[in-house]
Symmetry: C2
Amino acid sequence: MAIADALSLLLGADRIDTTAAALTQHSRGESYAAGVMPEVVVYPQSTDEVSKVLRFATERGVPVTPVAANSSLEGHTVPVAGGISLDLGRLDRVLESRPEDLLIVVQPAITYPRVNEHVRRHGLFFPIDPGAHASIGGMVSTNASGTAAVRYGTTGDYVLALEVVTPTGEVLRLGNRARKSASGYDLCALFTGAEGTLGVITEVTLRLVGLPEAAAAARLPFPDAYSATSFVTRLIQAGVPVARCELIDPISIRAVNAYSGTAFPEEMTIFLEFHGNPAGIAAEVEIARELAADAGATAFEAATDAGERARLWEARHTMLFAANAAHPGLDSIITDVAVPISELPAAVASAMADCAEHGLDVHVVGHVGDGNFHLTLYVADAAERALAQGVVDRMTHRALDVGGTATGEHGVGLRKLKYMEREHGEALGLMQTIKATLDPAGIMNPGKKLPVRAPR
Amino acid sequence: MAIADALSLLLGADRIDTTAAALTQHSRGESYAAGVMPEVVVYPQSTDEVSKVLRFATERGVPVTPVAANSSLEGHTVPVAGGISLDLGRLDRVLESRPEDLLIVVQPAITYPRVNEHVRRHGLFFPIDPGAHASIGGMVSTNASGTAAVRYGTTGDYVLALEVVTPTGEVLRLGNRARKSASGYDLCALFTGAEGTLGVITEVTLRLVGLPEAAAAARLPFPDAYSATSFVTRLIQAGVPVARCELIDPISIRAVNAYSGTAFPEEMTIFLEFHGNPAGIAAEVEIARELAADAGATAFEAATDAGERARLWEARHTMLFAANAAHPGLDSIITDVAVPISELPAAVASAMADCAEHGLDVHVVGHVGDGNFHLTLYVADAAERALAQGVVDRMTHRALDVGGTATGEHGVGLRKLKYMEREHGEALGLMQTIKATLDPAGIMNPGKKLPVRAPR
């Protein structure tokens, strides 16, 4: 029996879609042009249905590619081996709210802004902010982070418990509701960042934190990438608990000015945010101001009022739209690496010089307090795509040269696979062994996260 | 050939000890009375020697129990199956210091106070403070935490990279030097808290944080456990980033007064510490003062001067010595659980009532900001030991009833094994599969962390 017919019998026809529209929609992700059609899209409505699909897929050897918000930038949701696109979009509810324990239990397809809408009334928030309207399940699967990681860490730091369905259809409950534990192996951490290659996450228990009493924002232009990133390195080394610390390059500010009709100085600019009580953050802002002056900042604008803070950060928030608008009709390649904090100035400067040398338009945005930064390269044709890929390769190898990582937060997906052997060495073999143990039929998100093990 | 002779040939005679003194010294841990002699104690001096020992042990099927500072409270270092006690004490050096990257690379037997001595000159510290002079390797292996976890998290949060030797002798390098990564499976997290059952940690790269500019301390007596822990729950819910938050019971304060000649009020007492800039922590102290008054605190003493802070916390620091001195010649059983923060008042009150009902002397100390607390029970004979074990059983099952964990920070070792099936359910099977995959001969720290899998 055809896969779609068998799944229709198993779950009911309303869970299955084989229309061209659905298959096309599920063929590709953001910033990843080369789509592949799945054979069928399945919309499970319960953990039990996910289990039935995976058991079926393992028995029949059918590939399964999970997807929810589909905001991945590295091709995670492209069903490169065909088979089932497992769309978890109907599993998007809050299952339990426990503000008194600073936690919430949600299904995987709920987005993080919706979690925050839900918990804000209790004075709480989930502090991970990757941008896009990412789903919690996707964020756990890539260990997403974003602008607030410098203070609050990554998604994995907020995963107290998971329900997962293994590739053979077994339902496992991992973790607990205490704020720390030394019991058992940390299987939550194994599934966090596994990019759907070890199973499907069907429930997430998230730790929450108290909304800060007050916030401050600052914007600091610098004459060049080196002075801007050197300031960041010193700020982090000084132990200032900055809540966000972002970098944007002059070309992007120019794009923002063109897009929004603003007149921000077109310089390498650092955006800061501080969280705490009013007296504490006022003192932190002053330390940042002194360090910025030492590092050569050409200005230092700061504000605590919400409207003023939004104005100071406007260029950061508008940047992606402005950059896209400046390159109509072009494909973008967005990449990310992370390096030890002292290596950040050289890493950013080298990447920008490499782009300039190859005549490539590049936008640089960095969660620079983590040593993590992104390039957005716009390409018009295959030749430019090849040049851009060269830039990405050299930037990634330079990051690995200095003890960094091929991806700080976007995950491996398809495009970073080729760096895994160099980054992980012998440990890659253990990862492949774990994968083979959990997924003996190799059905879960094949082609992502780990290169296929070479025959021995 | 006998094991000791074979190892002597392999590594040299000076790495081997089979004297009665060495075997006895390596037969037991702290707070765990029932010792078992190893056949031989081995002192490796390099990663390569650890690899040789493990390869030999896997080939010959010889059990290996790793040990460094031997400060575990749950019998982790007791070589219950005999064989090799692998004493890593000679691997205690700083390998590389990178203050500009806020990291340090150390060998496993270095203690955390020595790490802090080393990095303090750079204005940095490693903020995990479990008490005792624990080794970094042991702290990683149990995901230790302690008094500062409420602010700074657990040891695992500071592990950037590990070198580990697997049971078959393979040397793996895990992780990297960036502050975050989405590359590969998180194998550092798998080895963190594995209690030496998956291999031996031979190198740890630790993330460091900046020393706070200022600190404040406070001491708050309460009329009972319920009001004290309710205050803590509200303080955490209010999002005050308190750096330490400890509870001590009146019996322990009485023991301190007897031991030190002090006159601290013999009440249920909360000890707080705040880290930050002077203006910020002054504001935090005021919020804590208001919440304490609401919760019924009978006093609120606070200080910022170092000498005054030490005086305020003296009872906390002296407590273990004072409690031991109050029970000369008795064995102690120290246990720990963690519960969701709102369940803390009921959990502490129930445990104390249970002890009272059974006529057992109990000292309660809690890292209560995490929902984590300890009982120290002193027992004179087998009958009292059985009564104490009953208290531990009921306390642990109550913690699991409310979604907590059988151990917040001490680890499973030998004594918590019996709760693992209930706590982890089907996930225990996956843990056992991972263990069997990495350690096919079952040599690594047998009898700890996971119950042996039942034959199918």
